[in-house]
Assembly symmetry: C2
Homo-oligomer: 613 residues x 2
């Protein structure tokens, strides 16, 4: 029944060979991998203006334009840097790979941790923001805010578990709708003012200036706007998800992404200046501009609606990127191996589910309030940018391949600028939450190194050389001991006993006495049954179920030598209904769990299946 439900939700299983078909072309790769970057533009301008407008009043629009210019410059620097990365790393050149490859393990793990945190935040923040857009339109849903957000995340999780291609169809369309509707608004807005002579009527008045621009203020505004650049990493991390030629496709998508962001960010910034929109907690910039251009008509609602949807869908970038990243880290042994396994529908199911759990937890703990999470948001991304660019820079310096000076300059400049950005964001947002990142990253790195150490220990101890041969066993002369624990004399026990007799002619039936009356009854029955096999009874005054058995096996009374095998044969009856298991003591499971820690005891489970009508 569970498997039927899984099939219904996720679609039927996919064969390994189906993997090739489940990949993006450019047309679907763009919306899937860039919805995060594109959607964050929707609020980046607003974040800049929030910082400025209370202090320098109407002059804000000028400096907002400068800040946006810096951010766009930064973006194109990153786009060109990342194009070099894509060329060099055809199998996915996320910061993790690049930093690990060129700077060493620890920088790689730092980059990986920073990115992991950021992906989780992307899901939480974007979904919360999307829900906020919905609840602003439909205020009666406000009290179900957290539930709605969690349900949205779960729906997205299911969509992604269905597999790569279907998720692109499902999630790609809203990105295009958003681009088109915002594009339409930008063109209409400009035409209306410049060609049709429309005079905008701002909805809110711009506050009076109370101070003048300062470097600190400008840097604060700039670092707030840097949220616009989260998500660019996704493209170069996602190269393996592209159809062949995957590198070329990824590079095209990256350039397209830059162009779209430039167009929308620039256009919105220009419209904001033109229509003098003022940041306001009840009405977003986009909403204010759209109302002035279109009024409260259907076009306005379409724009609001696509904005809301793309904010939710932005989370999908993380659902595409995070499981891939985690799979890479897991393949290197720094995270549990289960994350490197493909599921039913060939997606990395465990990573998707893990992301779902982490982000839902964030949403629930922070009661769906985005503003507490946003300050943490950009630091992580810029740390990973810096490490990745530095790694590329070092690579060119070391390799001295053709054009290395030019390439090193591009990546070196990228590294320098993103590092400065980390410092700016880290300092201006430290007390607003950035400190959490500086605690979290070292912790995650520590855990990852411990995991790796554990895997190394296990691998070293399991390693088998060709010269380590199997034991020479003379099957006919091998001494075999078998112990069959008994609680009551029933058919399940009989089946276990029958099995024991096929593998050994040294059988002992062992009873742990917890209840004297029950033991007496068993003794009597055993004597009646009379099959010539000894029944050993040991008292367990403290009601422990396993200690007396282990003690007995180790004692001299039971003289198995080091070369003899000791097998404990456990009868277990199996009930067909899942709830049936709750009704039984599961003693055999318990015994197995304890015995498995003892060397040189093999544990046999002999199932006896109970039929139920």
């Amino acid at each position: 029944m569970v498997s039927k439900l899984v099939n219904f939700l996720l679609g039927h299983n996919l064969e390994n060979d189906a993997l090739k078909d489940e990949k993006y072309n450019v047309f679907w790769g763009l919306p899937i991998l860039s919805s995060d970057a594109i959607s964050s533009v929707a609020y980046a301008g607003e974040e800049i203006l929030w910082i400025l407008v209370g202090v320098i009043g109407v002059a804000s629009y000028k400096y907002m334009f400068y800040a946006a210019l810096c951010i766009v410059f930064l973006m194109f620097l990153l786009v060109f840097s990342y194009r070099q990365t894509i060329d060099t790393y055809p199998n996915g050149g996320g910061s993790y790979i690049v930093a690990k490859d060129n700077l060493g393990t620890i920088p790689g793990l730092i980059a990986g941790s920073a990115l992991s945190i950021d992906y989780t935040l992307t899901v939480a923040v974007s979904t919360c923001a999307g829900t906020a857009a919905i609840t602003s339109a439909l205020p009666f849903l406000l009290k179900y805010k957290v539930s709605i957000t969690v349900i949205l995340i779960i729906l997205m999780t299911i969509g992604n578990l269905r597999g790569v291609r279907e998720s692109s169809r499902l999630f790609g369309i809203p990105t295009y709708l958003f681009i088109l509707s915002i594009g339409f608004m930008i063109v209409t807005g400009i035409v209306k003012v410049h060609f049709l002579g429309f005079t905008p009527h701002p909805l809110y008045s711009v506050p009076e200036a109370t101070g003048s621009i300062s470097i600190i203020l400008f840097l604060k505004a700039f670092s707030s706007g840097c949220t616009a650049l989260t998500g660019i990493e996704a493209v170069s991390n996602g190269i393996p998800s592209f159809k062949e030629p995957s590198q070329k496709n990824a590079k095209i998508v990256l350039i397209l992404l830059g162009t779209v962001v430039l167009f929308i960010f620039g256009g919105l910034s220009y419209l904001t200046t033109l229509y003098h929109a003022v940041p306001n907690s009840a009405n977003t910039l986009i909403s204010q501009i759209a109302i002035q251009i279109f009024g409260h008509n259907i076009v306005y609602y379409i724009i609001q609606c696509t904005t809301a949807i793309i904010l939710i869908m932005a989370a999908n970038t993380a659902f595409a990127g995070f499981p891939l990243l985690l799979a890479l880290i897991a393949k290197d042994g720094f995270a549990p191996r289960q994350f490197a396994k493909r599921g039913h529908r060939l997606s990395f199911s465990n990573g998707i589910i893990f992301l779902c759990i982490m982000s839902c937890t964030l949403v629930i703990v922070f009661h769906g309030e985005t503003h507490l999470l946003i300050p943490l948001y950009a630091v992580g991304v810029f740390i990973s940018f810096t490490l990745s660019q530095t790694g590329m820079f070092c690579r060119w310096i070391k390799q001295k391949s053709p054009y290395w000076r030019h390439k090193a300059f591009v990546n070196g400049l990228g590294a320098l600028v993103t590092f400065i950005t980390v410092l700016i964001i880290g300092i201006t947002k430290f007390y607003h939450g950035a400190w959490i990142i500086f605690v979290l990253i070292p912790s995650i790195v520590f855990i990852k190194t411990r995991v790796k150490k554990h895997y190394n220990t296990v691998a070293a101890q399991l390693k088998l050389n060709v010269d380590q041969r199997p034991k020479v066993i003379n099957f006919e002369e091998q001494k075999r001991y078998a112990i069959v624990p008994i609680d009551t004399l029933n058919k399940s026990f009989l089946k276990a006993l029958n099995y024991a007799r096929t593998i050994s002619n040294n059988i002992i039936v062992f009873h742990i006495s917890v209840d004297k009356d029950a033991t007496e009854k068993l003794k009597k029955k055993w004597d009646e049954y009379n099959i010539g096999i000894p029944l050993v009874i040991k008292e367990s005054p403290y009601r422990a179920l396993i200690h007396p058995l282990v003690k007995f096996i180790k004692s001299e009374e039971y003289a198995a030598g080091p070369n003899d095998t000791v097998t404990v044969v456990i009868p277990q009856f199996v009930v067909s209904k899942w709830w049936g298991n709750i009704l039984h003591n599961q003693t055999s499971l318990f015994i197995k769990g304890m015995l498995i820690k003892e060397r040189n005891i093999a544990i046999v489970t002999v199932p006896y299946i109970i039929e139920e009508e």
Copy 2:
């Protein structure tokens, strides 16, 4: 480490033989088993007055006295009825036993379910009321109300898990303190007015009458006051917890309980009339009276404090009663058997933990608001009273033992009166929540019968007759097949293989191919290793781990006859740190879980222990 913590919290293990010492004498049995009944008196008068005072004003005091009289009459009827039950059922005569014995299984289960619900409600309601008393005194704690209640329940759970005797010491004292302090207040209050000529100054004025007394109004008041009688059942259900002579001790405790309730309930009702206390949500009746008698001095705070403590401790009656009841039901096969097992310290740990979880859930779901739970409270108890009395009545009628007419009269009257009370409470409180009980009880009874049916099915299928002999097996000629699944060639596999060779000379090594590269690598290594055992490889295109193996075993390719044994030998490496298990796929556990549903396959686990520094 976990076991050290358990020992610290619960004390060291107790031997089976220590059971005799862990019992109550009369002195400790009284406070333990009666704190529920005694504490509920603290608010029963208030509940009556709440119904009356808004309608009939100052005349309420007269009718409150009548209602209290009815309730005291009902109580003594129950005390005498239950004395007969104690005589008849020396091993604990709760409603469940009595109803099952004399009326049949279903009435027994109804009584048991009603009582179980009531015990759970007792814990939730009493603890919430106790917390409310604390938070009224210390208002800054109000916002942690739910957490405080849950912590109190957990502390009580730990206390009870420590075992019977220590819990009586821990929880018995507050009952005596409450009795003494309320007794002191009653005596002082009466002396002050009648002998020292003190004139009370009521804190609140009695509302004007807006109507006159009616039968419906009086019955409502009466049914509200019936909460005073919850908890009487605990004594006769708890006979096995008494020291020998347990029946005599229980009967003494029952009479003492009745006397204490009579004295406190009567005394408080009289004081209420004398001091004209008026129900008020900010100030309890006891608090109003105490302020008038003592002022805001230390005696007042002692009274408030002991009241708060006994309300919390009342929950302990349920912790004493519920696990015993559940153990009885479990012994009869109507509830999971684990509830009938004694734990570390000889208490019925599972029942205690179950009660803790259920009541904490109630508290959390209802946000610690008692008034939503109180209407459900008395119905359950009176249903079980009715069934128990009816059972006793039928017993006397059938047996016609000496004095049967007299005995049948006592119990018959009890049955009739409690049945009428059920009707009164059920009708007057139906819409306030009593309906929930009428839904819950049938559901629980249904589940219990299903559980019993399951146990019966299992028992029937496991039953072994003496004439069903073990198979005749010629050990030397027995054909044994062994399959060793392999993932990678390592030491853990080698150990499993070595074991397989001791039990079989027909070994197949079986590999399920999920990843072609890994399979190729394994094939090459296996050929190098060259030990003359065939490696069977089956593709698993859908990455299923078990299906190909089961299919292979059943196929003709693998021709094990019905008399041959097939053993699957699973290598499992065991890591020493608990978190290590998270890092491995647990494939072997998974294989075991799937294979165990197949008949005629024995599963051997061969542990390989990984050492970690």
